[in-house]
Symmetry: C2
Subunit: 226 residues, 2 copies
DNA sequence: TCAAAAGTGTTAAGTTTACACCCATGA
DNA sequence: TCATGGGTGTAAACTTAACACTTTTGA
């Protein structure tokens, strides 16, 4: 099916841009690349790409993410469409931004290198191309709103994690310190955050219990609040 | 400036669709139209339109809204981009949805008529075109999250309103009953919701005090919570 | 005079915050 | 043995929720 009525209207390039969040050493990070083509080649930018004709916009974002990280089935949410006439100085491009949350240790470093992509601390971002800084800012706002109400933070951690790691993650995202006892009290109420009998000895002599997020249990009866 | 690099990539029709919320007789309403062109002419749909080449996507949404209502400077927020390949059976169209909040009594009824547009109760929506129901659903979710934290509900009321009206509005949006005394206690704490010395005699013999939202005062020192 | 909506405070329950010490272990 | 991060409970402050009667006035 196709419509002659639609044909009188203009068409646009449509791109996706990915705000890829990671967490390492107590810091939130974003994966940035040096733009590989003109205009503005070499400038710091988000990883992006054009949407293909036979491809959902969501799928385009997932494809671009996989291209850069080697990962599939990553947690992604749309941030929104950015559609100012002059946002891209190359030509008119409407871009749909997505943020992704992933375990930084699972990304394919080789692919990062091929794309001149590097993890940058969120607190010391360089100047970014076009409106990419605004995209990051809006993604971060969404992440902050979401992370206290939904169990999405786990996406940024390995499958097994310590409570100290989890707390540091939350502190990094919301940008303030959390009381350790109050934090653990709240975690203890969420039975779908399960203590395993594994111990992580890497960060202390005593060792810290490793926990796991049980998504099935969460779906059943979970109320998340941190 | 224009780029030959971009030219190898496909282009798309980009549309906007507006979820226009109003409030009347204690009920939340949405302005729907009977689609004026093929395919699916006559089906219930959101008011939409194609983006022009020289126009920001946000501006296109505002233009479409003005076309249908005669109103300018209406409160609008982007809901998000809808980009499935087959979402529009006419041809591939990527649509960016926006919701608008307005005082239902200020819309130009003549323009509504010209566009075959009618206010429908949110609780009894007809079947809608394509993915428009999903757009309404997402807009409603955003409105619900937003209305308790930000003073946006006033956009749906006339400049002067009674506390009963305000409470009914909140009840309609969040979909549950609110205790009158607790509600008024919270309103009283927000000094930027100002009692005027006007009285509304239309809904009771005794008459109800009319209030006004003072945005300047809110910007200065306002903390909003309802 | 009565029906109908407007207006008004107090108490109990629940939630959130503040806070400090002992434990286990490897070096 | 000691330095380091892991682990644990209680009480006060604050917030939220529940609840019912009096007022005004036009018909």
């Amino acid at each position: 099916m196709s419509s002659t009525f639609y044909q009188q209207y203009p068409k646009f390039h449509v791109a996706v841009d990915c705000i890829i969040f990671g967490f390492k050493n107590g810091l939130l990070k974003v994966l940035l690349q040096q733009r590989p083509f003109e205009p503005h080649a070499g400038e710091w930018s988000l990883m992006g790409g054009f949407v293909n004709s036979d491809e959902d916009v969501d799928d385009a974002a997932a494809r671009v993410l996989t291209e850069l990280t080697g990962l599939k089935n990553v947690y992604m949410k749309q941030v929104g469409a950015f559609g100012s006439v002059n946002r891209d100085s190359g030509d008119r491009v409407i871009s749909v931004a997505y943020f992704a949350l992933l375990d930084i240790d699972r990304v394919d470093k080789e692919r990062n290198r091929e794309h001149s992509a590097y993890w940058e601390d969120l607190s010391t971002l360089p100047k970014l191309l076009f409106d990419h800084k605004e995209m990051v800012q809006r993604a971060l706002t969404m992440l902050r709103e979401r992370v206290s109400k939904r169990p999405v933070g786990f996406q940024l951690l390995p499958p097994l994690f310590t409570l100290t790691q989890l707390q540091m993650l939350y502190e990094a995202i919301i940008g303030e310190n959390i009381d350790k006892r109050n934090f653990r009290k709240r975690v203890a109420e969420m039975t779908f955050i399960e203590k395993t009998d594994e111990i992580d000895k890497r960060t202390s002599k005593r060792g810290a219990a490793l926990y796991r997020f049980n998504n099935t249990a969460y779906q059943r009866d979970g109320h998340f609040k941190l």
